[in-house]
Symmetry: C2
């Protein structure tokens, strides 16, 4: 990571890929659709984006996305393209960085596909954006969990529980030994569960438990909303002794999240709901590698990555890659804790650990805990046992031999 801004794309085009890459570079720096008077050679030398790599990676029979301009008689090629911008074009501004690497590119005429795969954010940005305030280490300290994943759940049903019912669930969860609980992303500040009342009721249980045991489970309260409301809600959570706030990143947006980060004294749990829209097309949108860098720069402490064998369409390979991306240092730090959730239960623990090689993750199970035939406490135990097996290098089946709750889980969910 140097002073320049660099981005990598997968493109699909019937143009010569070199020419197509030059069009991208022109459009995203000095150009327009016609050569214009002020675009001097000197200005271009200083500010034009440079194409630093074009590597064809295959052909397709038909254009994947509609509407592109097709060059008669030419193959439709896919290629990796790397563009490079001088830092001076952008300045240390995340919105402008995104407008540059992910702006008016996706619709350009020559492309029947264009996906941002990766971005190298200039080191200069670290002066403006300090990144995650707590990261992995701070989250472990706050929740008193070391040497194993932070095991958590989501309040379900997502919508409809009163603050009192939510708190009753929380009591059950934390007495069962859970480290972490989160609001569902659908639950914010709604008439049937006003934010402050939910915090009050939930924190009574958590504080009571912490006083008794010395361990304070972490609850991520979804403060997503308008800026002033988010700051006020953050303060409210802090005052009641809470230790985490949650944001729906794609809907709060970068500026809102950065503002919360600057104000916050609590870790930010970054929920990526809506993410499928950005990434499910293999030739459109943004890959997680780029996405997680932008959000780490914005200062998010935890980031959802999905888990293996999830209920979504994402492959295990892609999930593992996402978790590893989060665990790779950026600018010598910018720690973010990957959050594995969606269809998770005891069954994925060993394979996850083997694939990822780290316990620096949050392992969040909804139905994987609450639907356990032995009840919630047994559900929690089954997950804990599964991770014990993983850390001891045992198979789930072997470990289940003398761990009843894990055994029940394997036969019920397996």
């Amino acid at each position: 990571m140097g002073r320049n801004l660099k981005a990598t794309y997968l493109i699909e085009t019937s143009y010569n890929p070199e020419d197509a890459a030059q069009i991208m570079a022109g459009e995203q720096s000095s150009g327009t659709f016609l050569r214009i008077p002020g675009e001097t050679d000197e200005l271009k030398a200083r500010h034009a984006a440079k194409v630093t790599r074009v590597e064809p990676v295959g052909e397709v029979a038909r254009p994947t996305l509609k509407g592109s301009r097709q060059m008669e008689g030419r193959p439709i090629q896919r290629a990796l393209v790397e563009l490079n911008w001088p830092y001076e074009n952008v300045g240390s501004n995340l919105s402008n960085l995104c407008a540059t690497v992910a702006g008016n590119l996706f619709e350009l005429g020559p492309f029947s596909g264009l996906k941002l795969l990766d971005v190298d954010i200039p080191e200069e940005f670290t002066k403006q954006y300090k990144g995650p305030q707590f990261g992995i280490d701070g989250t472990r300290s706050l929740s008193s969990v070391f040497g194993r994943p932070i095991i958590g759940t989501i309040i379900k049903p997502s919508v409809g529980l009163s603050p009192v019912d939510t708190a009753a669930n929380v009591k059950t969860f934390i007495e069962a030994g859970l480290d972490f609980i989160k609001d569902d992303e659908l639950m914010g500040d709604s008439p049937h569960s006003p934010f402050e009342e939910r915090v009050d009721k939930v924190m009574i249980e958590i504080n009571r438990f912490a006083d008794r045991t010395g361990k304070k489970p972490m609850f991520a309260f979804n403060i997503s909303g308008d800026v002033d409301d988010m700051l006020r809600r953050h303060d409210y959570v802090l005052e009641q002794g809470g230790t985490c706030i949650m944001l729906s990143l794609n809907w709060v947006g970068i500026a809102g999240a950065v503002k919360v980060r600057k104000h916050a004294q609590l870790p930010i749990h970054g929920h990526r709901n809506g993410w499928g829209m950005f990434t499910r097309s293999e030739v459109l949108g943004m890959a997680f590698m780029a996405y997680q860098k932008i959000w780490r720069m914005a200062g998010v402490d935890h980031l959802h990555t999905n888990g293996i064998r999830n209920k979504f369409c994402e492959s295990d390979e892609s999930v593992i890659e996402a978790v590893k991306a989060c665990l790779t240092p950026m600018h010598n730090g910018y720690q973010v804790m990957p959050v594995l959730s969606s269809g998770q239960w005891a069954g994925q623990a060993v394979d996850t650990y083997q694939a990822v090689g780290s316990t620096d993750l949050m392992y969040v199970c909804g139905g994987g805990i609450v639907a356990h035939p032995g009840g919630i406490a047994a559900g929690v135990k089954s997950i804990q046992q599964a991770w014990e097996a993983a850390l001891q290098g045992k198979t789930l089946e072997a470990y289940a031999a003398d761990h009843h709750e894990l055994k029940q889980a394997l036969s019920f969910y397996g």
Copy 2:
């Protein structure tokens, strides 16, 4: 528009479309991947999202997006689905509204395609979100343009001009008669064109022109960035007599834009760069109909729609639909002015007017002005003449007979 939240989707699935729609509704309200204890019938009756329409619209031979679960032997159907949520689930919170209608849906296993087409935002939201402060009428008043489109341009080259060079261009543009000028979305507050210095230099020219002529051309300064910086920059523009600020909506995000709106005393020019990512797949992401409603609710006064015969991949039909969507009242108001740009020159004026039937739009030309063979002043004249032709019900060719600049434009760009 009543009290409920409603959203329409295009889905693609090998499941029975009815079943698939029920999965969407469950996932986005009370459910998880398994039936769980707290999901009582009473809670479901109050909070479950309802499927209010399922209309098959065709079949495809292969799943469009990868990774979905396929039902053996069943056709892959596309269908329109309408879901309906009680207002009580969400509360008046745009982030939560988006998490509900556009959250963890796009990745759900049964779907090889899922696109949000439209959303009906509950009237209750109008108490919290006042919408565009200036809209069409306020923008016309500020820029003194009535009875015809506001004609504008973008500073080009997008990147690289110093504040002094930018101001020199502005001087040329406004003396040539342009109503509106905007920063390129790539230009924010960069080392080679610091924001305040650019405002200073540009506003000297604009104020001088306004003092002399009584008409103040509108310049949309791109204030996109972190919240405090945006508010400070807004104030700076206002202090210098500027009349418009611009946001890169997708990167500033909803919370940031709403915060700017609450603070602002100037219209917000909403730039949608990156939009292609959301919409270019026919079966993924979000349609403009939904997008423009969300941003009008957030309070954006102008919104980019693309123009016909643009340099992007969007069809003319889609562009016209987008312009009309902006011009359709929402909650009895929430006026937003559509901004037609990209590859625009004199040539599209008559067809645009015939298709849209309104002059309530901004017509923004880059190369269509500055690359005109007669120079910038002639470029501006050619656009004005083209719109005169449109309003007089004449063809461009007929009007060009005694309008030299238009004639030049037709032979150069045509």
